[in-house]
């Protein structure tokens, strides 16, 4: 049955590199939790420690309240779907799925029944006698899933299992994985660098950065009220404006002097400090005439427009060279040609303030230094 996973002040070094830095995390039983982060953020290390392939230098890991910190992988009630599937090439599909049951000494009749059930669950029963190299990536993925689930673990670990699939198949598998998880009621821990994937599938998401968990929360919470500028930029897209908070008000002044009204300031943000203002592209509207009734507006030049299917994305450049992105539903959009001048404006509620931090590496929106 599903179990709760708990990490308590876990730290892991590789040589002198701190891969995981004092992470505490409680993953509730029966939930689908994603660990989201860029490469090197420590997400895979966290997964490997839960799986038993790495041991933490400090801290404790518990599954269903039991300390498993130093237990080898074969003594844990956890199974993993590996990034490259790791199917045994010298065994048939059926042998691969039966492997875990053989190790547990499950009787022949039950073993065969469970292998059959697991293979039909992923609709791969007709392929039972094939070798893994005779299967496509998506099919191998299903076998890897069946092989891990046939042991009925209380926790299933998934290490970027959809990374090698093409986009359409990936979206299909996302839905199937999510359905499977809610039907089996198991705890799924899903490592990914794809924020869309994390948003689509998870009950909650742990955003990791430099070995630390930056924020743990549900998809809506992370999208609407990110705790830091990093999380704001990591989930969805943001336009960032660097500047200073005006006193203790919900106001900011950007580096080039423009004053904006703000909807929300991150908790604990002091008066007058350097801040990053963030506004999402879908909240930035465009107008030819100056929208005098809106307090947050800037004159910009359209540098490029990109067609995204149901939306249009405009790349804007301000006089000082800063760039901004605006995303508008297509049916509402009148299409300004590249080179024309427009007013970009957004409502105060959509501008949030975060403590200033260096996001150069992590943001694809506005460069904060403006040169």
């Amino acid at each position: 049955m599903a179990a709760e996973v708990e990490l308590e002040r876990v730290t892991k070094f590789y040589g002198t590199f701190k891969a995981v830095d004092d992470v505490s995390l409680i993953i509730k039983k029966g939930t689908f939790v994603s660990v989201l982060g860029a490469s090197g953020a420590g997400k895979s290390t966290v997964l490997r420690m839960i799986g038993g392939f790495e041991f933490p230098d400090y801290g404790t890991l518990r599954i269903a309240g039991r300390d498993i910190t130093m237990l080898p992988p074969y003594k844990r009630d956890v199974n993993t779907v590996f990034q490259n599937y790791a199917l045994f090439p010298h065994m048939t599909v059926a042998e691969n799925v039966a492997y875990g049951l053989r190790q547990d000494g499950i009787g022949t009749d039950e073993r065969k029944k469970r292998v059959r059930d697991a293979l039909s669950m992923v609709e791969m029963l007709p392929f039972a006698e094939r070798k893994p190299n005779q299967l496509s990536g998506g099919q191998q993925q299903r076998i890897a899933l069946a092989r891990a689930l046939v042991k009925r673990p209380s926790v299933l670990l998934l290490d970027e299992p959809l990374g090698a699939l093409d986009r359409k198949l990936r979206q299909q598998m996302q839905v199937e994985l999510k359905l499977l998880q809610s039907q089996l009621g198991l705890t799924f821990i899903f490592v990914t660098h794809d924020q869309e994937e994390a948003l689509a599938m998870s009950d909650s998401i742990a955003v990791m950065r430099n070995g630390r968990v930056e924020q743990l929360g549900g998809p809506t919470e992370l999208y609407d009220t990110p705790a830091t500028a990093f999380v704001a930029g990591a989930i969805g897209t943001q336009n960032f404006i660097s500047g200073r908070r005006l006193g203790n008000d919900l106001m900011m002044q950007s580096d080039d002097g423009a004053v904006f009204q703000v909807g929300r300031a991150a908790p604990g943000l002091a008066a007058g400090v350097r801040v990053l203002g963030a506004v999402r592209p879908e909240n930035v509207a465009l107008a030819r005439a100056e929208p005098l009734s809106v307090p947050n507006r800037l004159l910009a030049r359209v540098t490029a427009s990109v067609m995204l299917g149901d939306t249009l994305e405009f790349l804007l450049t301000f006089k000082d060279g800063k760039e901004f992105i605006s995303r508008i539903p297509r049916r509402n959009a009148e299409v300004p040609n590249p080179g024309t001048e427009v007013w970009a404006y957004w409502a105060p509620e959509s501008l949030n303030l975060y403590p200033f931090e260096d996001l150069q590496v992590n943001t694809n929106a506005v460069r904060k230094d403006g040169n």
Binding site: Y74, N84, P89, A94, Q103, G137, A148, K151, L169
Partner: protein
């Protein structure tokens, strides 16, 4: 639950477009290798087979072999007691040598592939083949110094009390056995190392993840995946050792004979090329038989182990 239809799975169904040259067949590129193989392997071997049916030329005749009358006479005289005795000794020496090479070599290959840090591997593999940079003859000859009754090794063993009399293994089968193991150890280690090195580490992790301890993982994953390299190493070592004639010549004296010596004696000393050729052909046939029997035994064992495990589905 039902997962979506597998028909939508298109990741592997895109055929690779290949442009083909109308005028040159695809195997044209293989001609240099095929030609080499034909000229330097197939034709000489065919001549050996033809020679084996000939006769020693009468005094005053031209050429090494008289082919005017073909007969099985050489085979009848080759299949003597001495040939079989030496053949059995050869199989024993090569067989024991191969097994001991495997016993010593496998842990080396295993440690090298799976436990030595990657940055040391190249250096260690290099050190492994370094002795091959000196002459085979010279290296084998050096063993005469080591194994000599008055040599350092003998003195050391006497000093340690392992033996009471000077070491008397030089010019015997024991010395040949040692020389064979020494010379063919790298031939065993390298293919083993290559096959072990190619095993994806995530497969071993997957095995542990599915509940198999290190010992079971070794038997069920590592060993089967390394099997081609292990079998290749066994075969290569056995064939090379069985056909060796340098080691018994240098270290075996008159007692440590192998079939290679018999063939060489007929061709070089007795000037009887047809008889030597017949012995060489017999060696090839008997070796093939021995290897076929060994292969069948391995196949039977692995098949019955599989049957004992029972079907997965």
């Amino acid at each position: 639950m039902r997962l979506g239809k597998t028909e939508t799975d298109v990741t592997s169904s895109i055929p690779i477009q290949r442009t083909r040259n109308r005028f040159l067949p695809r195997w044209a590129m293989a001609w240099p290798a095929l030609g080499w193989w034909l000229v330097f392997f197939v034709i000489p071997l065919a001549w050996i087979v033809v020679y084996s049916f000939g006769a020693k030329p009468a005094p005053g005749m031209q050429g090494p072999v008289s082919l005017s009358q073909l007969s099985f006479d050489n085979y009848t005289s080759a299949l003597s007691d001495i040939f079989f005795r030496v053949f059995v000794i050869t199989m024993k020496t090569a067989g024991i040598g191969t097994i001991l090479c495997a016993i010593v070599g496998f842990p080396v290959a295993y440690a090298l592939a799976l436990h030595v840090p990657a940055r040391w591997r190249t250096l260690l593999v290099f050190l492994l083949i370094l002795p091959y940079w000196t002459s085979f003859l010279l290296r084998t000859f050096a063993w005469r110094i080591i194994l000599a009754p008055q040599g350092t090794f003998s003195h050391a063993l006497e000093y340690l009390g392992v033996i009471t009399q000077p070491l008397a293994i030089l010019d015997t089968n024991t010395a040949v056995q040692l020389g064979i193991i020494y010379n063919y150890l790298p031939v065993m280690i390298l293919p083993m190392y290559v096959s072990l090195d190619r095993i994806d580490g995530s497969l071993l992790r997957a095995s542990m993840d599915l509940g198999a301890g290190p010992f079971r993982t070794f038997w069920q994953v590592t060993l089967p995946l390394a099997a081609p390299g292990i079998l290749g190493g066994l075969l290569l070592t056995f064939i090379l050792a069985a056909g060796d004639y340098v080691v018994p010549t240098i270290l075996g004296g008159t007692k440590g004979l192998m079939v290679g010596n018999l063939v060489a004696t007929q061709i070089l000393s007795a000037q009887n090329l047809p008889l030597g050729a017949a012995m060489a052909v017999l060696l090839i046939i008997l070796l093939a038989l021995v290897i076929a029997v060994a292969g069948l035994a391995i196949f039977t064992v692995s098949r019955s182990l599989k049957l004992m495990r029972g079907a997965a589905l």
